[in-house]
């Protein structure tokens, strides 16, 4: 068993442990730290798979932007209410039941599916940052540019939400 395989399975187990911790941790800050652990482990998995571009952006965007934002909001909102003491809502039993049902159906489907490694004759594209970026911006430049439209819409929507809230406050 090579060191790569050991590291990969270490990251897989760490991601699983972080996911379970997210369900049982009480304070939102602990849940956020568990989620950061999951994301970093997944970045490790991507790095071990050789998909370096995704690993880098997983750390930069998810951990560096999204989760920092989330942690900042948790610190900012100094609210104390029952949701900080009681973990689960009234939907605990229906939620777990529905989750089990879905897991059974999906799991049965997945148990029949065999994911084999890519066929031997097929040439695997390089997922390193440089060849990947060149390929990305040559073939998918339009999609890349269109995402900027989505981002502008998100910024406008965020400002609109804040403004409408201010008007209600008087």
């Amino acid at each position: 068993m090579s060191i790569d395989t050991v590291l990969l399975y270490f990251f897989v187990v760490a991601a699983l442990a972080g996911g379970v911790l997210m369900l049982v941790a009480q304070h939102p800050m602990r849940v956020a730290l568990a989620l950061i652990a999951v994301m970093l482990s997944l970045a490790g998995v991507y790095a071990m798979l050789g998909v370096h571009a995704v690993a880098v952006f997983q750390v930069l965007i998810y951990v560096g932007a999204v989760m920092v934002f989330m942690v900042y909001v948790i610190m900012l909102l100094d609210v104390r209410d029952p949701s900080f003491v009681v973990r689960y809502g009234r939907l605990l039993l229906p939620g777990v039941a529905l989750g089990t049902l879905l897991a059974t159906v999906l799991g049965l489907g997945m148990a029949q599916m065999r994911v084999t490694p890519a066929a031997a004759g097929v040439e695997t594209p390089s997922y390193l940052v440089r060849p990947f970026s060149q390929e990305f911006l040559q073939q998918y430049w339009l999609h890349f540019e269109l995402t900027s439209v989505l981002l502008v819409a998100a910024v406008v929507a965020a400002i609109a939400v804040i403004k409408s809230g201010r008007r209600q406050d008087g």
């Binding site: 395989t5 071990m48 798979l49 973990r87 997945m110």
Partner: protein
């Protein structure tokens, strides 16, 4: 080559944990984070399929999901902030204004 089947199972389990978390947790911010976990699981599945088919399109889709996730969090956090300012609480059990 890593066992892609194991990684697909990991993605499946993480998605399930996120889904159950959204349904059972009481705190609005924790629900948001469970949604992020579901997105992460989908990204893992896309990377696995991209490796399986030996194409780049799955990985490209992952980048578009990164952008969508950033936009989503930029909208969702202000909404949660507004809710908590109005109700003075992050408890989703208290958000019952639409109840008939």
């Amino acid at each position: 080559m890593a066992d892609l089947q194991v990684l697909l199972w990991l993605s499946f389990v993480l998605f399930g944990i996120g889904l159950v978390g959204v349904m059972v947790r009481r705190n609005a911010l924790v629900m948001l984070m469970c949604m992020e976990l579901m997105l992460n699981a989908v990204i893992l599945a896309l990377v696995v399929f991209s490796l399986r088919t030996a194409t780049l399109s799955g990985t490209v889709l992952v980048f578009l999901i990164f952008v969508v996730a950033a936009a989503e969090i930029a909208i969702a956090i202000p909404i949660v902030l507004m809710l908590s300012r109005q109700k003075r609480s992050l408890d989703v059990e208290g958000y019952d204004s639409l109840k008939g």
